[in-house]
Symmetry: C2
DNA sequence: CAACGTATGTCAGAATCCTGACATGAGTCA
DNA sequence: TGACTCATGTCAGGATTCTGACATACGTTG
Protein backbone atom coordinates (compact mmCIF):
# COMPACT_ATOMS: atom_id res chain seq x y z
CA UNK A 1 0.00 0.00 0.00
CA UNK A 2 1.39 3.30 -1.03
CA UNK A 3 -1.25 5.40 0.63
CA UNK A 4 -3.19 5.57 3.84
CA UNK A 5 -6.80 6.34 3.11
CA UNK A 6 -6.23 9.97 2.25
CA UNK A 7 -8.30 9.92 -0.89
CA UNK A 8 -9.43 7.67 -3.66
CA UNK A 9 -7.11 4.82 -4.38
CA UNK A 10 -6.30 5.35 -8.02
CA UNK A 11 -5.04 1.81 -8.41
CA UNK A 12 -8.48 0.52 -7.59
CA UNK A 13 -10.65 3.29 -8.99
CA UNK A 14 -12.87 2.35 -11.89
CA UNK A 15 -13.11 6.01 -12.78
CA UNK A 16 -9.38 6.31 -13.15
CA UNK A 17 -9.26 3.12 -15.17
CA UNK A 18 -12.01 4.42 -17.40
CA UNK A 19 -10.03 7.56 -18.07
CA UNK A 20 -6.94 5.50 -18.71
CA UNK A 21 -8.72 3.27 -21.20
CA UNK A 22 -10.30 6.19 -22.97
CA UNK A 23 -6.94 7.92 -23.14
CA UNK A 24 -5.27 4.83 -24.57
CA UNK A 25 -8.02 4.48 -27.16
CA UNK A 26 -7.74 8.11 -28.19
CA UNK A 27 -3.97 7.86 -28.48
CA UNK A 28 -4.25 4.74 -30.61
CA UNK A 29 -6.80 6.39 -32.86
CA UNK A 30 -4.71 9.53 -33.21
CA UNK A 31 -1.76 7.42 -34.19
CA UNK A 32 -3.50 5.65 -37.06
CA UNK A 33 -5.42 8.75 -38.13
CA UNK A 34 -2.42 11.07 -38.24
CA UNK A 35 -0.99 9.63 -41.48
CA UNK A 36 -4.35 10.48 -43.05
CA UNK A 37 -4.19 14.03 -41.76
CA UNK A 38 -7.31 13.51 -39.71
CA UNK A 39 -8.08 14.15 -36.05
CA UNK A 40 -10.38 12.05 -33.90
CA UNK A 41 -13.10 14.68 -33.86
CA UNK A 42 -12.70 15.03 -37.61
CA UNK A 43 -13.22 11.31 -38.08
CA UNK A 44 -16.10 11.19 -35.63
CA UNK A 45 -17.89 13.87 -37.56
CA UNK A 46 -17.55 12.01 -40.86
CA UNK A 47 -18.60 8.71 -39.31
CA UNK A 48 -21.66 10.29 -37.74
CA UNK A 49 -22.66 11.86 -41.03
CA UNK A 50 -22.25 8.58 -42.87
CA UNK A 51 -24.59 6.82 -40.49
CA UNK A 52 -27.06 9.60 -40.02
CA UNK A 53 -27.09 11.89 -43.04
CA UNK A 54 -28.63 15.28 -42.45
CA UNK A 55 -27.45 15.71 -38.90
CA UNK A 56 -27.20 19.32 -37.79
CA UNK A 57 -24.16 21.01 -36.35
CA UNK A 58 -25.50 20.79 -32.80
CA UNK A 59 -26.40 17.14 -33.16
CA UNK A 60 -22.94 16.36 -34.52
CA UNK A 61 -21.40 18.19 -31.59
CA UNK A 62 -23.32 16.08 -29.11
CA UNK A 63 -22.39 12.93 -30.95
CA UNK A 64 -18.71 13.80 -30.95
CA UNK A 65 -18.71 15.08 -27.35
CA UNK A 66 -17.62 18.61 -28.15
CA UNK A 67 -19.41 21.94 -28.04
CA UNK A 68 -21.37 23.08 -31.07
CA UNK A 69 -18.94 25.97 -31.39
CA UNK A 70 -16.03 23.58 -31.83
CA UNK A 71 -17.97 21.43 -34.24
CA UNK A 72 -18.90 24.50 -36.20
CA UNK A 73 -15.31 25.48 -36.94
CA UNK A 74 -14.62 21.91 -37.97
CA UNK A 75 -17.69 21.80 -40.19
CA UNK A 76 -16.72 25.07 -41.86
CA UNK A 77 -13.29 23.64 -42.67
CA UNK A 78 -14.78 20.39 -43.94
CA UNK A 79 -17.22 22.35 -46.08
CA UNK A 80 -14.46 24.57 -47.43
CA UNK A 81 -12.38 21.52 -48.38
CA UNK A 82 -15.28 19.77 -50.02
CA UNK A 83 -15.89 16.90 -47.62
CA UNK A 84 -19.28 18.07 -46.48
CA UNK A 85 -22.11 20.13 -47.92
CA UNK A 86 -24.70 22.22 -46.19
CA UNK A 87 -27.54 24.09 -47.85
CA UNK A 88 -27.18 27.86 -47.91
CA UNK A 89 -30.63 28.25 -46.43
CA UNK A 90 -32.26 26.20 -43.75
CA UNK A 91 -35.14 24.11 -45.17
CA UNK A 92 -36.90 24.46 -41.85
CA UNK A 93 -36.02 26.62 -38.89
CA UNK A 94 -32.35 27.36 -38.49
CA UNK A 95 -31.16 23.79 -38.69
CA UNK A 96 -28.70 23.18 -41.52
CA UNK A 97 -28.58 19.48 -42.37
CA UNK A 98 -25.06 18.39 -43.32
CA UNK A 99 -24.22 15.63 -45.75
CA UNK A 100 -21.07 13.91 -46.95
CA UNK A 101 -19.83 14.59 -50.45
CA UNK A 102 -18.37 11.72 -52.50
CA UNK A 103 -14.99 13.05 -51.50
CA UNK A 104 -15.97 12.95 -47.86
CA UNK A 105 -17.17 9.41 -48.27
CA UNK A 106 -13.88 8.36 -49.83
CA UNK A 107 -11.93 10.01 -47.06
CA UNK A 108 -14.04 8.29 -44.46
CA UNK A 109 -13.53 4.90 -46.10
CA UNK A 110 -9.78 5.17 -45.59
CA UNK A 111 -10.17 6.29 -42.01
CA UNK A 112 -12.63 3.56 -41.17
CA UNK A 113 -10.13 0.88 -42.12
CA UNK A 114 -7.58 2.43 -39.77
CA UNK A 115 -10.00 2.88 -36.92
CA UNK A 116 -11.44 -0.55 -37.30
CA UNK A 117 -7.98 -2.04 -36.85
CA UNK A 118 -7.69 -0.19 -33.55
CA UNK A 119 -11.05 -1.43 -32.38
CA UNK A 120 -10.18 -4.98 -33.37
CA UNK A 121 -6.94 -4.71 -31.44
CA UNK A 122 -8.76 -3.36 -28.41
CA UNK A 123 -11.19 -6.28 -28.49
CA UNK A 124 -8.43 -8.83 -28.90
CA UNK A 125 -8.38 -11.24 -26.02
CA UNK A 126 -11.99 -10.59 -25.10
CA UNK A 127 -14.64 -13.21 -25.56
CA UNK A 128 -18.03 -12.40 -27.01
CA UNK A 129 -19.49 -12.67 -23.55
CA UNK A 130 -16.96 -10.25 -22.13
CA UNK A 131 -17.66 -7.79 -24.90
CA UNK A 132 -21.39 -7.78 -24.34
CA UNK A 133 -20.73 -7.66 -20.62
CA UNK A 134 -18.56 -4.60 -21.08
CA UNK A 135 -21.26 -3.09 -23.23
CA UNK A 136 -23.89 -3.46 -20.54
CA UNK A 137 -21.61 -2.23 -17.80
CA UNK A 138 -20.61 0.89 -19.70
CA UNK A 139 -24.21 1.69 -20.54
CA UNK A 140 -25.02 1.22 -16.89
CA UNK A 141 -22.29 3.66 -15.85
CA UNK A 142 -23.40 6.28 -18.34
CA UNK A 143 -26.98 6.00 -17.21
CA UNK A 144 -26.08 6.27 -13.54
CA UNK A 145 -23.84 9.26 -14.12
CA UNK A 146 -26.41 11.18 -16.14
CA UNK A 147 -29.25 10.18 -13.88
CA UNK A 148 -28.21 11.85 -10.68
CA UNK A 149 -27.03 14.80 -12.69
CA UNK A 150 -30.06 16.93 -11.96
CA UNK A 151 -32.05 14.60 -9.83
CA UNK A 152 -30.80 15.80 -6.43
CA UNK B 1 -30.93 -0.09 -39.03
CA UNK B 2 -30.01 3.45 -39.84
CA UNK B 3 -26.94 2.57 -41.87
CA UNK B 4 -25.77 0.07 -44.39
CA UNK B 5 -22.32 -1.17 -43.51
CA UNK B 6 -20.57 2.02 -44.52
CA UNK B 7 -18.41 2.23 -41.43
CA UNK B 8 -18.37 1.35 -37.80
CA UNK B 9 -21.75 1.08 -36.21
CA UNK B 10 -21.53 3.59 -33.42
CA UNK B 11 -24.51 2.13 -31.66
CA UNK B 12 -22.64 -1.11 -31.22
CA UNK B 13 -19.09 0.14 -30.92
CA UNK B 14 -17.39 -0.44 -27.59
CA UNK B 15 -14.93 2.31 -28.47
CA UNK B 16 -17.70 4.84 -28.87
CA UNK B 17 -19.32 3.70 -25.67
CA UNK B 18 -16.01 4.01 -23.88
CA UNK B 19 -15.67 7.57 -25.05
CA UNK B 20 -19.24 8.28 -24.04
CA UNK B 21 -18.70 6.91 -20.56
CA UNK B 22 -15.48 8.78 -20.11
CA UNK B 23 -17.13 11.96 -21.29
CA UNK B 24 -20.02 11.50 -18.88
CA UNK B 25 -17.62 10.88 -16.02
CA UNK B 26 -15.57 13.94 -16.84
CA UNK B 27 -18.69 16.09 -17.09
CA UNK B 28 -19.94 14.82 -13.74
CA UNK B 29 -16.58 15.49 -12.12
CA UNK B 30 -16.36 18.97 -13.59
CA UNK B 31 -19.80 19.70 -12.25
CA UNK B 32 -18.97 18.84 -8.65
CA UNK B 33 -15.47 20.29 -8.85
CA UNK B 34 -16.51 23.64 -10.31
CA UNK B 35 -17.97 24.99 -7.03
CA UNK B 36 -14.55 24.34 -5.51
CA UNK B 37 -12.82 26.23 -8.30
CA UNK B 38 -10.97 23.13 -9.35
CA UNK B 39 -10.55 21.43 -12.70
CA UNK B 40 -10.27 17.70 -13.24
CA UNK B 41 -6.58 17.87 -14.06
CA UNK B 42 -6.10 20.07 -11.01
CA UNK B 43 -7.76 17.49 -8.81
CA UNK B 44 -5.91 14.61 -10.44
CA UNK B 45 -2.61 16.28 -9.70
CA UNK B 46 -3.45 16.73 -6.03
CA UNK B 47 -4.75 13.19 -5.69
CA UNK B 48 -1.63 11.76 -7.29
CA UNK B 49 0.59 13.76 -4.98
CA UNK B 50 -1.34 12.63 -1.94
CA UNK B 51 -0.86 9.00 -2.83
CA UNK B 52 2.66 9.23 -4.14
CA UNK B 53 4.46 12.16 -2.56
CA UNK B 54 7.57 13.31 -4.35
CA UNK B 55 6.31 12.63 -7.85
CA UNK B 56 8.02 14.69 -10.52
CA UNK B 57 6.34 16.92 -13.04
CA UNK B 58 6.72 14.36 -15.82
CA UNK B 59 5.40 11.55 -13.69
CA UNK B 60 2.39 13.64 -12.69
CA UNK B 61 1.75 14.40 -16.34
CA UNK B 62 1.69 10.74 -17.24
CA UNK B 63 -0.59 9.99 -14.32
CA UNK B 64 -3.05 12.70 -15.30
CA UNK B 65 -2.89 11.92 -19.04
CA UNK B 66 -1.62 15.30 -20.14
CA UNK B 67 1.74 16.45 -21.47
CA UNK B 68 4.44 17.50 -19.04
CA UNK B 69 4.20 21.00 -20.49
CA UNK B 70 0.58 21.27 -19.48
CA UNK B 71 1.27 19.81 -16.08
CA UNK B 72 4.10 22.24 -15.63
CA UNK B 73 1.92 25.32 -15.99
CA UNK B 74 -0.54 23.78 -13.56
CA UNK B 75 2.21 22.95 -11.08
CA UNK B 76 3.57 26.47 -11.28
CA UNK B 77 0.14 27.87 -10.48
CA UNK B 78 -0.36 25.40 -7.62
CA UNK B 79 3.06 26.30 -6.28
CA UNK B 80 2.34 30.02 -6.56
CA UNK B 81 -0.91 29.59 -4.65
CA UNK B 82 0.66 27.48 -1.95
CA UNK B 83 -0.90 24.10 -2.61
CA UNK B 84 2.32 22.42 -3.62
CA UNK B 85 5.99 22.84 -2.87
CA UNK B 86 9.01 21.97 -4.93
CA UNK B 87 12.62 22.39 -3.89
CA UNK B 88 14.47 25.19 -5.61
CA UNK B 89 17.25 22.82 -6.53
CA UNK B 90 16.96 19.26 -7.65
CA UNK B 91 18.30 16.85 -5.01
CA UNK B 92 19.40 14.56 -7.80
CA UNK B 93 19.48 15.18 -11.53
CA UNK B 94 16.88 17.59 -12.79
CA UNK B 95 13.90 15.92 -11.18
CA UNK B 96 12.02 18.20 -8.82
CA UNK B 97 9.93 16.13 -6.40
CA UNK B 98 6.63 17.85 -5.62
CA UNK B 99 4.76 17.60 -2.35
CA UNK B 100 1.44 18.79 -1.01
CA UNK B 101 1.38 21.57 1.53
CA UNK B 102 -1.12 21.44 4.41
CA UNK B 103 -3.22 23.83 2.39
CA UNK B 104 -3.05 21.50 -0.58
CA UNK B 105 -4.08 18.61 1.61
CA UNK B 106 -7.08 20.54 2.93
CA UNK B 107 -8.12 21.48 -0.57
CA UNK B 108 -7.84 17.90 -1.72
CA UNK B 109 -9.94 16.68 1.19
CA UNK B 110 -12.87 18.80 0.02
CA UNK B 111 -12.47 17.67 -3.56
CA UNK B 112 -12.21 14.03 -2.64
CA UNK B 113 -15.61 14.11 -0.99
CA UNK B 114 -17.13 15.55 -4.13
CA UNK B 115 -15.39 13.15 -6.47
CA UNK B 116 -16.17 10.15 -4.32
CA UNK B 117 -19.86 10.97 -4.58
CA UNK B 118 -19.55 10.86 -8.35
CA UNK B 119 -17.76 7.54 -8.26
CA UNK B 120 -20.35 6.12 -5.92
CA UNK B 121 -23.10 7.30 -8.23
CA UNK B 122 -21.35 5.74 -11.20
CA UNK B 123 -21.10 2.41 -9.40
CA UNK B 124 -24.70 2.48 -8.30
CA UNK B 125 -26.59 -0.45 -9.71
CA UNK B 126 -23.49 -2.51 -10.22
CA UNK B 127 -22.80 -5.58 -8.18
CA UNK B 128 -19.38 -6.32 -6.75
CA UNK B 129 -18.92 -8.97 -9.40
CA UNK B 130 -19.78 -6.54 -12.17
CA UNK B 131 -17.34 -4.01 -10.78
CA UNK B 132 -14.45 -6.40 -10.68
CA UNK B 133 -15.50 -7.67 -14.09
CA UNK B 134 -15.40 -4.15 -15.45
CA UNK B 135 -12.02 -3.70 -13.83
CA UNK B 136 -10.54 -6.70 -15.60
CA UNK B 137 -12.10 -5.84 -18.93
CA UNK B 138 -10.81 -2.27 -18.86
CA UNK B 139 -7.34 -3.43 -17.92
CA UNK B 140 -7.52 -5.89 -20.77
CA UNK B 141 -8.49 -3.16 -23.23
CA UNK B 142 -5.68 -0.89 -22.10
CA UNK B 143 -3.16 -3.66 -22.38
CA UNK B 144 -4.31 -4.67 -25.86
CA UNK B 145 -4.27 -1.09 -27.09
CA UNK B 146 -0.78 -0.38 -25.81
CA UNK B 147 0.55 -3.74 -26.85
CA UNK B 148 0.17 -3.49 -30.56
CA UNK B 149 1.32 0.09 -30.39
CA UNK B 150 4.89 -0.61 -31.38
CA UNK B 151 4.75 -4.34 -31.82
CA UNK B 152 4.16 -4.33 -35.56
C1' DC C 1 -52.83 35.77 -31.22
C1' DA C 2 -49.02 36.82 -27.94
C1' DA C 3 -45.60 35.51 -24.50
C1' DC C 4 -42.60 32.33 -22.92
C1' DG C 5 -39.09 28.73 -22.91
C1' DT C 6 -36.12 26.02 -25.69
C1' DA C 7 -32.88 25.01 -29.40
C1' DT C 8 -30.09 26.45 -33.09
C1' DG C 9 -26.20 28.88 -35.75
C1' DT C 10 -22.80 32.16 -35.24
C1' DC C 11 -19.41 35.59 -33.55
C1' DA C 12 -15.73 37.14 -30.33
C1' DG C 13 -12.54 36.45 -26.65
C1' DA C 14 -10.07 33.68 -23.46
C1' DA C 15 -8.35 29.54 -21.52
C1' DT C 16 -6.39 25.21 -22.23
C1' DC C 17 -3.55 22.00 -24.30
C1' DC C 18 -0.27 20.43 -27.60
C1' DT C 19 3.87 20.36 -30.93
C1' DG C 20 8.54 21.68 -31.46
C1' DA C 21 12.77 22.83 -29.58
C1' DC C 22 16.64 23.54 -26.38
C1' DA C 23 19.95 22.73 -22.55
C1' DT C 24 20.98 19.87 -18.68
C1' DG C 25 21.85 15.65 -16.04
C1' DA C 26 21.93 10.44 -15.44
C1' DG C 27 22.95 5.96 -17.16
C1' DT C 28 25.32 2.86 -20.47
C1' DC C 29 28.96 1.11 -23.11
C1' DA C 30 33.26 0.90 -25.42
C1' DT D 1 37.45 8.85 -19.77
C1' DG D 2 34.44 10.08 -23.70
C1' DA D 3 30.47 9.39 -26.69
C1' DC D 4 25.93 8.00 -26.92
C1' DT D 5 21.14 7.53 -25.48
C1' DC D 6 17.41 8.72 -22.73
C1' DA D 7 14.59 11.49 -19.53
C1' DT D 8 13.67 15.78 -17.46
C1' DG D 9 12.42 20.85 -16.93
C1' DT D 10 11.47 24.76 -19.49
C1' DC D 11 10.43 28.22 -23.13
C1' DA D 12 7.97 29.83 -27.32
C1' DG D 13 4.43 29.41 -30.75
C1' DG D 14 0.32 27.62 -32.59
C1' DA D 15 -3.82 24.86 -32.65
C1' DT D 16 -7.91 23.38 -30.49
C1' DT D 17 -11.52 23.85 -27.45
C1' DC D 18 -14.34 26.23 -24.30
C1' DT D 19 -17.20 30.17 -22.12
C1' DG D 20 -20.13 33.96 -22.96
C1' DA D 21 -23.27 36.32 -25.76
C1' DC D 22 -26.58 37.48 -29.43
C1' DA D 23 -30.31 37.03 -32.90
C1' DT D 24 -33.42 33.88 -34.90
C1' DA D 25 -36.92 30.15 -35.25
C1' DC D 26 -39.97 26.58 -33.40
C1' DG D 27 -43.38 24.67 -29.91
C1' DT D 28 -46.22 25.32 -26.17
C1' DT D 29 -49.30 27.67 -23.22
C1' DG D 30 -52.24 31.11 -21.83
Amino acid sequence: MSQSGVGIDLDKSLGYLLKEASSALRAAMEEVLRPLGMSVTHYSCLELLAQRPGLSNSELARGAFVTRQSMNVLLQALERDGYVTRPAEAPVGKVLPARLTPRGRRSLAEATVAVRSVEVRMLAGMTEAEQSGAFLILRNMIHSLRDGNDGT
